[in-house]
Symmetry: C2
Subunit: 359 residues, 2 copies
């Protein structure tokens, strides 16, 4: 059996190619994958030379250009056809690799993927999913939850939201091993009537998809409680919510620093409570979960955090390998297809508000 | 000079009329206002009898019905014309009181106001504003910021967002005494090109309103940093963000409780750090700032938190009195009018993207 091949954008991320190389070596040692490091041949060879590793597990694929974190994604992806992220995505699109990992800017990863990797047929929009830690109040198997979309789309239709639920469910049940994961729609109230027309329509649509376990609307205050496995939302809202949590985590940390400077009793308190604060901080720490999957392409794309260290890169590669092994993209494709081809059920139609008299 | 008259919904809120009565007495003692307690005459008289107060400062206005927190606002406001919140709003609409305070359900307050108090002419939509504590990193005069809309509207147009900025600016500059308060638009990136068409349009519109100090887009991660005085957003997003912060505050608190049960060192840490945690908790604590102003009506409406204690009710009444004295509604009206009548400036038109060649 050929090993799973992961194309890794070696020049993406805040910490430079040496960190990516270290992450790749770590991943190659622990996982049955072959890694294709895409980037400046000479720099990568120099960095690899400093480590011991099995030469069969890592190869270099030259790419002469780079896209920096602050570059305009659109301009760069179009004007730099030999940028590491673009070349890595092309390798995946051409079938020379099975999955893509990059710690580059989200925009450049999304656009490079969109330019080179086909969308799954019947998927209307791809979505960025992000995993975050919760209080797990419902005592699920997992203390993490998944939120999507967190930024690939600004707005979307009710049907697109429903598709996000199918994609997220396939991902969580296969990758995190949770059978029948609970899905909720982020809204301004729990009642199905809340949030305006689009949310009402999405609610109804989600209710009637047999392949997902839709439990209803969820409010902002319950996001961290961990009552559900998957939260569905438009990219505009998801992006702002995830960044708000990131900001809240930082605020807690900063309060600690302030305390540090002032009272000696606070200093003691801070040291003791650090573990609790660390829990909150994990909201922004991708290093443990390996990055955000970009769902809806025929091949798996993992966006690692820009600040990824070697461990985070290694976990992102491991996650990509697992997605390929579990055929997450194939599963998404099958579930989306059966949703799109499922005829509207007469009972649902008759009991919907278009025929209120039947109620 | 006649004193400012505040109609107070005495039956609204989770804690019953006795708490509202105590809050009213406290407010009447400390502020030059006359309070009209609206609700069950007998119950209110009984509650008042237990306290010492100046009889000229508080009167009772009978209302035989009540709307509970869990009642459907729409159904209740229509079917209970003698509910305390509806009657209180009517007194304000008829000019028998100058402002309204209620700790009832947000929906019932908004609908009662909308039914009885005219909207300011030229204001397209009213908005709920909420004040929250920040880290005040920009060293402003105030460590609080204002966010609107947080739930009166699900979606709104670019122009409505621009109007929210005008209303929020008038409120903050008069009530909180901050000259030229900084306004930001909540978005998924700082660049003016972010967030889709509506956000781009709102950005441009906000840029050209002379009466406000628009500083650009703000991301979720910066909400708690306190870089700006006012954050503008659609009700759907604002509601979810505020509730997410509420949930994050509770999570921090709950982590403390967990610690309490487990390790003795954590217990000590928690006690010492409680002040830090309390700061975060204030996100949801309306008692200090008196409640959320509902902006856009000809008379001031203050929505006190459902869980308001006597101090919170007193502060809400004090805030309402201050808004009347400062003529916040008149100020909003004048600023909105000049915005609506301001002709598009030729320079703005020529330098806008419709004439890119001029750039």
């Amino acid at each position: 059996m050929n090993p799973i091949r992961i194309a890794v954008d070696a020049m993406g991320g805040d910490n430079g190619h040496k960190v990516v190389v270290r992450g790749a070596i770590r991943a190659a040692k622990a996982n049955p994958v072959k890694i294709i490091l895409v980037g400046n041949e000479k720099k990568l060879a120099n960095a690899l030379r400093k480590h011991k590793y099995d030469g069969d597990t890592i190869e270099i694929y030259n790419a002469t250009e780079e896209i920096a974190m602050h570059d305009s994604p659109r301009t760069s992806v179009e004007s730099k056809p030999d940028a590491s992220i673009v070349v890595a995505a092309r390798l995946v699109g051409e079938g020379k690799a099975d999955a893509l990992v990059s710690a580059g800017s989200t925009g450049s990863v999304v656009l490079s993927a969109a330019k080179n990797i086909p969308r799954i047929s019947d998927v209307r929009r791809t979505a960025i999913a992000t995993v975050y830690p919760t209080m797990n109040e419902s005592k699920r198997d997992d203390y993490l939850s998944l939120m999507l979309d967190v930024g690939a789309n600004v707005q979307c239709s009710a049907e697109e939201l429903a598709q996000f639920a199918i994609m997220g469910s396939a991902y969580v049940s296969y990758v995190r091993g949770i059978p029948d994961p609970k899905v909720a729609l982020l809204n301004i109230g729990e009642e199905s009537s809340k949030g305006g027309e689009k949310m009402q329509e999405a609610y109804k649509m989600l209710k009637r998809i047999p392949s997902i376990n839709f439990v209803g609307n969820i409010e902002g205050k319950d996001i961290l409680r961990g009552m559900v496995d998957i939260i569905i939302t438009e990219g505009f809202v998801g992006n702002i919510v995830i960044k708000t949590l990131e900001g809240a985590a930082k605020t807690v940390g900063r309060l600690g620093q302030l305390a540090f400077k002032t009272k000696i009793t606070w200093k003691l308190g801070l040291i003791l409570l650090r573990k609790g604060v660390a829990f909150i901080k994990e909201v922004t720490d991708y290093s443990e979960y390996g990055g955000a999957p970009l769902l809806g392409f025929e091949k798996m794309v993992i966006i690692a955090h820009g600040r990824s260290n070697a461990k985070a890169i290694s976990n992102a590669i491991k996650l990509a390998g697992k997605c390929v092994r579990d055929d997450v993209c194939g599963q998404i494709s099958r579930n989306i297809r059966s949703f799109e081809r499922e005829p509207e059920r007469e009972y649902d139609r008759l009991t919907s508000e278009r025929y209120p008299s039947v109620d």
